[in-house]
């Protein structure tokens, strides 16, 4: 009796254990199910490289190149800002800050991670957007640059915490060895700690970028959402995520627009999948 019960319980545990695999597969499956149909109307190359995104014109033009470029532009901008600042602050928190400041700073970074993206988007709208508008004297502050700054900010918690872990996991005797040779603290960090933790820091950067590419609400609220190929960073752009979020409500289920938005979902899913798998490899390399 008890054995039978435990047998069932253990099967249930195993089922829940593999549930994550099941859900990832389910997500992929349903994106494919709804998204692949778009390729009946456009070819893969026209979809990925088409210059025009006019999903509701007749016939619809479903080229997502402007959206891809929008995402790339915003992401590059965010990466340029967030990588040095994020890694720098991870070094500061892990290696330099006194113990009391460490706790406060870590709490600050954790706090940032907890703020909902729609709140950050809202604050960005009322502070960052007018600022960008005035500084660069633009007709609108809803630009790729505003999006990059905002996203850089949102990527920080990921970059800082993963990079910090990477620094902590460097064996103590590396550092002690360097000090014993008379190196300054900075020389130790630069010559010993950073190279030793490089794969973890790389993973931190990748996960941060993954966060940026996937971010939706804040980016939709402050990048202006113009689906044209951007020439500079000071114009409105529309990202892949914002396109889905903004247009899904209007798309007719089973229509071409609907299929196209799911196809964008496939693209996003694959990007995040690749980033996460690679980052995971880097993290495991560090452990070994």
């Amino acid at each position: 009796m008890r054995k039978a019960k435990e047998f069932i319980v253990e099967k249930l545990i195993l089922t829940c254990g593999v549930a994550s695999i099941f859900f990832v597969a389910l997500i992929f499956l349903f994106l494919m199910k709804e998204g692949l149909a778009v390729f009946k109307t456009v070819s893969l190359s026209d979809f990925l490289a088409g210059h025009k995104w006019y999903p509701i014109s007749e016939p619809p033009q479903l080229g997502i190149l402007p959206l891809i470029l929008g995402s790339i532009l915003v992401t590059i901008g965010a990466a340029i800002i967030s990588i040095p600042i994020g890694v720098g602050s991870a070094i500061y928190i892990a290696e330099i800050a006194p113990a009391w400041a460490k706790e406060v700073l870590k709490a600050g970074v954790e706090l940032l991670a907890a703020i909902p993206s729609v709140v950050l988007g809202f604050v960005g709208m009322v502070t960052l957007v007018p600022l960008v508008k005035n500084v660069f004297n633009l007709p609108t502050g809803l630009t790729a640059l505003s999006g990059s700054i905002m996203l850089a900010f949102m990527a920080m918690p990921t970059i800082v915490s993963v990079a910090e872990d990477a620094l902590y996991s460097v064996p103590k005797n590396y550092k002690e060895g360097a000090f014993a040779l008379g190196a300054t603290q900075w020389q130790t960090i630069w010559r010993v700690m950073l190279p030793a933790s490089s794969s973890g820091i790389l993973a931190a950067v990748m996960l941060g970028i993954g966060r940026v590419i996937g971010e939706t609400m804040a980016v939709m609220m402050i990048t202006g959402n113009a689906a044209v190929i951007p020439k500079t960073i000071l114009v409105p752009v529309r990202t892949l995520t914002a396109t889905v979020a903004a247009e899904m409500g209007e798309a007719v289920v089973g229509g071409e627009h609907y299929f196209a938005l799911f196809a964008i979902g496939i693209v996003l899913f694959m990007i995040s999948f690749m980033i996460n798998v690679t980052a995971d490899l880097f993290l495991h390399k560090r452990q070994r």
């Binding site: 829940c16 254990g17 349903f30 995971d280």
Partner: protein, 282 residues
């Protein structure tokens, strides 16, 4: 030859600057929202429905909607996540399956929130025909917070000393009894922390509920899990971008309530965690 100590001074200055560039704006954001949002908060704002096209009145339906969504999400995610964590800590062997499970969890955590929205729409709204409803939204959010619950629960279970398990097993007590009576009770604070963090995450997300449940404006409260509902984060999005001429007070007030809700959950989680660490008996 450059002076290494001057180099160090300059480097440390820039590192400190980077840290401040993150932490100071965070502080500012919180201060701004408290400063401008707190004056908007009164009983009326919290307990009434929106009026004049959401330009005035309260945000009660959005609070209730978020409450329903978050409860539904946790009801779904907690049992699955907890048992998954039990599997990983107590049963999983060091093999390919375990490796794939861990990779799947990492990926689940990395899927963009808007993709969850698409998925939830395709599976729950369309395929299962739940429609845009609290049920669809809760399940979508539930799957999204699963990785949070699993990883924190795994941590909590791993913090229970292996010797407790050995003692229990050495008495002829079965594995499941050991988990039930020794491991789980001692992991409760950690599991609770993870659950609350998951709740906070679910409460703040917008993209996954956009097409699965969120109503633009719905003055009456949902009557069943098959109804649509308003939700705080979506409401904030709507009144900041979709409705012109909304009183600043209403926007800041809404942002304040959402932020306060999410941050207080995180605070509770942190308090439980630190209290538990101090009280730990082993």
């Amino acid at each position: 030859m450059r002076n290494p100590y001057r180099t160090q001074k300059i480097a440390f200055f820039f590192l400190l600057l980077s840290t401040l560039l993150i932490v100071v704006p965070v502080g500012l954001i919180v201060v701004i929202i408290i400063q401008k949002g707190l004056p908007a908060i009164n009983w009326q704002f919290l307990s009434e429905v929106p009026q004049q096209g959401m330009r005035a009145g309260g945000i009660f339906p959005a609070i209730v909607g978020t409450f329903y969504l978050v409860s539904g999400a946790i009801l779904f995610a907690l049992p699955i996540g907890l048992l998954a964590a039990v599997y990983l800590t107590e049963y999983a062997k060091d093999n390919l399956l375990t490796r794939i499970i861990k990779l799947a969890i990492v990926n689940l955590a990395g899927v963009p929130s808007v993709v969850y929205g698409l998925f939830g729409f395709a599976l729950f709204v369309v395929f299962f025909k739940f429609g845009a409803s609290i049920l669809s939204g809760s399940l979508t959010l539930g799957i999204m917070i699963l990785p949070v619950i699993i990883t924190t629960s795994v941590e909590a279970l791993e913090s229970v000393p292996a010797s407790f398990r050995e003692v229990s097993l050495s008495l002829g007590v079965s594995k499941w009894q050991t988990i039930r009576n020794i491991v789980l009770p001692n992991a409760v604070p950690g599991i609770l922390t993870g659950t609350i963090l998951g709740l906070g995450r679910a409460a703040g997300e917008t993209a996954p509920i956009l097409f699965t449940v969120a109503a633009f404006y719905l003055p009456q409260l949902p009557a069943s899990i098959f109804d649509q509902a308003m939700a705080l984060p979506y409401h904030l999005y709507v009144i900041s971008t979709q409705v012109p001429n909304v009183d600043e007070k209403v926007r800041y007030g809404t942002a304040f309530v959402l932020l306060a809700l999410v941050l207080s959950m995180n605070l509770v989680a942190i308090v439980i965690r630190s209290k538990f660490r101090k009280k730990k008996k082993w």
